[in-house]
Structure formats: C-alpha cells, structure tokens
Amino acid sequence: MSAAETTTAKVPPARRDPLPGAGSGRPGEPGKKRGTGGGAAVPWALLAPCLLVLALVLGYPLVRLVTLSFQKFGQPQLWGFKAAESVGFDNFTTVLGDAEFWQVVVRTVLFAATAVVLTMVIGMLIALLLQRVSGWVKTLINIALVASWGMPIVVAITVFKWMFDSDFGVLNWLLSQLPGVEMHGHNWFTDGTQGLAVIMLLVVWGAVPFVVITLSAGLTQVPKELEEAARLDGAGSWGVFRHVTMPILKPVVVMLATLSVIWDMGVFPQVFVMRGGHPEAEFQLLTTYSYEKAFVVNDYSQGSAIALLTVILLLGVIAVYMRQMLKIGEVE
C-alpha cells in the first residue's frame, strides 16, 4: 500500500486532471459524436475485468464477512455437517457484553494513538533536521531510512526479537553498559505494557521512514521567501513552523496521520510473530483478538463480528483520508 501513497503524496501538484469531461471526446466534431456514444461503453469495457476480479476476491468476502457475523458458524459448519443458521445480533451482543473485548479495544486505541503520535512527531523532527544537515549526513540518513523501510516486515520483527532477546540480546547488553543499570537476562515480554512498548518501537521504526520521505518532499514545496518574510516580521523558529510551514504541509500531514491510524490499528504480524504465534491475553489487539476467536476458538462468526467492529471503528478515519486523497488528487 505504501507505494500508492508515496506517489500520490510526492506529486500532489503534478497530477492535475484538467477536465474529465473532455476525456472521452476526440478533438474535432466527428470525434465528439463518437466520444459521447462510445464514452460509456469503452471505459466500462476496460473496467470490466478489474471489477470482476475485485467482485470475486474482495466483494464476495466482504459480504461474507457481514453475513458471517450474523450467523452461527463454527467447526461443524466449516466441515459442512451443519448448515449455518442466522442468529441475528447474537454475536454482537456476546462480543459487546464481554469485558475482555472492551479491554482489547482500549488497548488497541491507546497503542495506535501513541504509535501514530510518535511516528508523526519523530518523522517531522527528522524531516526538519534533514533540511539543516550537510549533504553527506543527509545521504547517510536517507540510506538508513530507505533500508529500514524496505525491510520485509517479518525480517524486521525477527531482528527486533533478536535484539531484545533476554539472554543474548544486544539491547540488554547496551543498557547494562550504562552506570547503575543491570539489565542482563531481563525479559521484555513478561509484562504486557513493556512488551507492547517494544512492539510499538518496532512499528514506529518501520513507519517513520515513509513519513520522513513524504514530509521532506512536502517541505521542499514551502517557499523560502515566506519563511524569510515571517522571520523578518519577528517570528521565532517555532512561530515560522507553526504559522508558515505547518499550514502548507497540512494536507500531507492529515493524509499521513490518517494512513498511520489505519495501519497502526491493523498491526498484526508484529504482535503475532513477536509472541511466537500465540499472543498472551495482555498482548491482544483487536486484530489478533479477532484471529484468535476465529482460528483458535474456532468461532468464525464471533471473529467476523470483531473484525467488522474494527472496520466500523475505522470508518471515520477512512472517510477523512479519502476526502483528503480526492482533494489532493483533484479527482472531482
């Protein structure tokens, strides 16, 4: 997904799609006739294969997700011994009445919110720093960022697992070098809060490069004259950032923030792989919780209900993101 966002984020001003109305018509009058005639058939024909595939691989499962959450669907139904029966809102009442579910919701929201704030703040700081360092430092940072961005997520998780290993992890060793700190053999994952903090560090480390690179591209669009003018008028660094840089960057920032929310709410392999495929109760986020209900407890309908609730929880954020994308892309 990130790629689509990179391109769109990097080139907002370039993608101006002047008037879609003229798109179908050839220049000149004979074309105009054909343009309107074929205008509807040709694009739909071009779209047909794509829409067909999407209907099969996305549309059907989405519908199934909704219907599943209103049915009773467990092991017997999976093997076809029993037909799935409709149970109305039963799954939702069970889920919503479960105290554990609400704990998981709160934990997920806290996790995502903190991760997003950290990602955005650190990303912005590094992007601003990149403007101030010498060329060679900039190159070094860019290499490190792109390398960590390009790392397959599973590899990144594996490396973090190794760095935070309780006996041989380099981090415990490094921390023990500090005077008065004894971290040898410290297990980061006995405690949910500490463990999730490590996972969050991994998530933020993976997410910051995209934010920095996108923001850096955005920062080059901020006219130097405006900053100079603001400084002459007596604005301090913070003032310039707050009143000149930020307003110009705002569309990009909103887009990055909404995207980060969507991604950080959907964190799955980080928790799943870090905990060896069986996250403990205090590590459960909505995604892993839904997975566990479906594939460990074998209650597919309850799992679906939780997944659906997660999507609904995200709808507001998705709406903001889409509005921003459409505005930037000037699709209207």
């Binding site: 790629a3 689509a4 990179t6 769109t8 990097k10 799609d17 879609p20 003229a22 798109g23 179908s24 220049p27 694009p43 739909w44 071009l46 779209l47 294969p49 794509c50 595939v53 999407l54 691989v57 499962p61 989405l62 599943l68 700081l125 590094i126 601003l128 990149l130 101030r132 430092v137 940072i141 490190a144 390398a147 960590s148 390009g150 397959p152 997520i153 599973v154 590899v155 990144a156 490396v159 190794w162 760095m163 041989f168 060793w173 900053e227 660094s237 913070w238 950032f241 959907g266 392999p269 792989v273 060896g276 995604t287 839904s290 997975y291 679906s304 997944a307 999507v311 995200l314 998705i318």
Partner: protein, 286 residues
C-alpha cells in the same frame, strides 16, 4: 519543532558552527535508524558461538559464512523461494494487465459512475487485510483452493489490484493529454496513439509499479501463513522454522533474514528512484 532553534539571521561563521551540532544529531539519527539493519548483518556474518557470547562485540571480529550454510539446510529454502517467486510474479502480471485497463478507464474517460469507481478503489485499499482473513479462508475452502498457489494468487489480488490501478492512474494522469491528441491529429487512432505515445512514456511507471507490487506480494505474511500448509511455505513463513522447542538458532536466523531482506531492499532502492523519476521524465519535450 525544537529542531529549528538555528536562527537564520545568524552570521555566516556562526552558521557553520551550528551545522556541526545538526550533523552530530543527524549522525545519531543515522545510527539509531540503521542499527537493526546493521545488527542483522553483523550477527549473520559472525560465528554462531560469538552470537551468544554474553559480551556481544559491536564491531565484527571474525568473519564466517557458516550461518548461511546452516540457514540453507533449514526447512525447504529453495522451495519456499520458488513458491514466493511464482506467486509474486503471477500476481503482478495479472495486476498490471487488468489494472492498466482499469487505470486507463478512470483517468482518460469521462463516464457516469467514474467517481464511484474511484472512491470504491480507494476505499477497498483501506479495509485491513486481517479483517478479511476469515471470509477469504472460507471462500478458498469452498473453492477447494486451500493450500494451493492459485488460491494464494487469487487472495493477493485483493491488495495488489487496487494498488496497481491507483498507482498507474497517477502515472497516466501525468502524461499530458496533448501528446495523445497531437498523435491523433496526425492520423493515429485512439488505440494507436496510446500504444505509440502514451505507452512508452508510461513504461518506467509500469516497471516501478510492478516492482513495488512484487515486493508487497513477496513480503505478505498473514495470508501465506493461514492459507498454505507447512509443506508449502512461502519465503516469509520459512523464517519461522529457526525456532523449535529446543530454542532459536539466532545466528543462522539472521543469515536467513539477510538473504530474504537484501534482494528486496536493493529492489526497493532501485524503484524508489524510478518512482520519483518516472513521474516527470521526458513528458513534453519541445
């Protein structure tokens, strides 16, 4: 915020001095951001017994390739690589072929329902993959496609196709319509104009999109784990084989990680540039 304390109206020499501070801070960022990557490489190339030394050396002392030899013996390395390659390549080919047509439709034609299609394609990218795993699992189960590469390919289209359409749309929009119109004035048909004028300009973008899509498909973990059995692991899932009840072989695991990550990071570096360059390269030249 705090990073902008270097007041601009300072005199020249003061500026230079300031730069030193920023550079040091920059180096700190470089070291922090790059450390996990460095530590992976460092562990991969050191003897396995050095890796579990209670006093890990930050800088390499002994160099060995043993970990790579060991990693190759674990599980079915080449088989999993082969499967990942097959799935990723096929997905990208289908994605590009189908996606290009759709991208053309939404970027070069005006028709009723266009906006709905665009919103739809944007929206489906936002549905978390994890939320879809249950119905996708059941769908493949019904179709008899569980534990089959074809099933995995179908599944990967859920995220590769919308991504491809949207990204290609961005590239097509950047090819000026005037070029196409000029070709048509000179007697090209609409299709001819596309093949002779737009397509060559689009090629770098298509390459970049394909490589990006390939990387995404290659890196996918959850579906590969859920939809394929132990005997048909893909590359990402293969990495979990280093952990058994007897513990984890960390040094070989880092060697495995290196083999998995380095080609992808290099591909990524290449496309990074092309993605940016492909957007503007050679559009209207005189």
């Amino acid at each position: 915020m705090a990073a902008s304390t270097a007041a601009a109206p300072a005199a020249r020499p003061a500026r230079k001095k300031n730069k030193l501070g920023w550079n040091l801070l920059g180096l700190l960022v470089f070291v922090t951001a790059g450390f996990p990557v460095y530590w992976m490489l460092n562990t991969a190339f050191k003897p396995a017994k050095d890796a579990i030394d209670p006093d890990p050396h930050l800088f390499p002392t002994n160099f060995t390739l043993d970990n790579f030899k060991r990693a190759l013996q674990i599980g079915d390395f080449w088989g999993s690589i082969g499967r990942s390659l097959t799935v990723s390549l096929v997905v990208v080919l289908i994605g590009i072929a189908v996606g290009l047509l759709a991208a053309l439709a939404i970027s070069r034609f005006a028709f009723r329902g266009r906006k709905i299609v665009i919103v739809g394609i944007l929206a489906v990218q936002m549905v978390p993959l994890v939320a879809m795993i249950i119905p996708v699992f059941l769908l493949l189960n019904d179709l008899g496609q569980y534990d089959k590469l074809s099933g995995l390919i179908i599944t990967y289209l859920t995220f590769i196709l919308p991504f491809t359409v949207w990204t290609l749309r961005g590239f097509i929009v950047n090819v000026p319509k005037e070029l196409e119109e000029a070709a048509m004035v000179d007697g090209c048909s609409r299709t001819g104009a596309f093949i002779r004028v737009v397509f060559p300009l689009l090629a770098p973008g298509m390459v970049a999109t394909s490589v990006y899509g390939f990387i995404q498909a290659w890196n996918e973990y959850l579906y590969a784990l859920m939809l394929m059995s132990q005997n048909h692991q893909t590359a990402t899932v293969w990495l979990s084989n280093f952990t058994t009840q007897h513990g984890t072989e960390y040094a070989p695991m880092m060697a495995g990680s290196t083999m998995m990550a380095v080609p992808i990071v290099i591909l990524f570096l290449l496309v990074q540039r092309k993605m940016a360059a492909g957007l503007t390269a050679g559009a209207v030249k005189g």
